[in-house]
Symmetry: C2
Subunit: 150 residues, 2 copies
DNA sequence: AACTAAATGCAATAATGTTGCAATTAGCTC
DNA sequence: GAGCTAATTGCAACATTATTGCATTTAGTT
């Protein structure tokens, strides 16, 4: 929810400005990663204008407050959908429709840390993204294949 | 080794050109991710000149042949250090000295796939990078802390 | 309503990527 | 080793993305 993010801003002493609300709403509605310029374009379609510098700065802020994440594989930003930081946030990205889903998995974190420790590395954070098909696109794929082999 | 990559190029019917050799050598020597322009700068320091477009194209080729990987957290390219593709290649990145280490872990792949499958996702590939300290930097860190508390 | 620090807009610039086409070259054949 | 040709590179122009300093505006307060 947008409201939650607004409360975080207030709690941390940041102003709740119109541009910040607008970016929050855009991110909240979009179910895919957006670049700063994506956001600018989407806003323009609604007749709203934000300088791209402003958007960069807002995204930096959101990122630093963990209100948004930067997807590595696409480079775009997504609104964090998890209540609080319970460790490393992971993503699944559907390479067909672009849908994303955020999740945490403490077990995986442990395993990853163990695995890298064995190689002499002291891990502090994991970046993890899985690429594949969401259930919708997977079903469609199966149907298409099914029709192709009568 | 550079030689291995050259053999892959030949085996796939690609020409072994001077620019390709030069980029291979730069990547091989660098123990950190390099952007196309990084590579151009490094070559220039050796009195060699490559058009940046050429470097982009060479990196695209190397990437498509799995001779190089693109690190997501930094955006730079690194030469693949593993013999062949035995699944998803993972990276540890030292955020202090920039050193990287590549590894595979089939067990982790399995766990990740299972984890995402439980969420209705059909994973085909994992992007995984761990950020932390390499053993060298970790030791230095400990020493510094040790000195600070007499 | 007035005040002030924080935030935004603006302008200029830097850095990074991309495209089409002409010139060059690696690897082949003779 | 000379000549051939498709593959590769260089060039030029352009598009996109990102950064900086400073003037202007605004949210939250008094």
């Amino acid at each position: 929810m947008v409201q939650d993010s607004i409360q975080v801003l207030q709690a941390q002493g940041y102003k709740v400005t119109k541009p910040r609300r607008q970016v929050l709403e855009i991110l909240d509605r979009a179910q895919r990663p957006l670049s700063p310029y994506d956001i600018q374009r989407l806003l323009r379609q609604q007749g709203k204008y934000l300088n791209h510098v402003t958007i960069y700065r807002i995204l930096d802020l959101f990122y630093s407050l963990n209100l948004a994440h930067k997807l590595l594989s696409t480079g775009g930003f997504v609104k964090c959908t998890l209540p609080s930081e319970e460790g490393c946030h992971r993503f699944m990205v559907c390479h067909r429709c672009g849908a994303i889903q955020e999740f945490v998995d403490p077990q995986l974190c442990l395993q990853e840390s163990k695995s890298t420790r064995n190689l002499g590395f002291h891990t502090e954070y994991h970046f993890s993204e899985s690429s594949g098909l969401c259930s919708n696109c997977y079903r469609k794929q199966l149907q298409k294949q099914g029709n192709a082999q009568p």
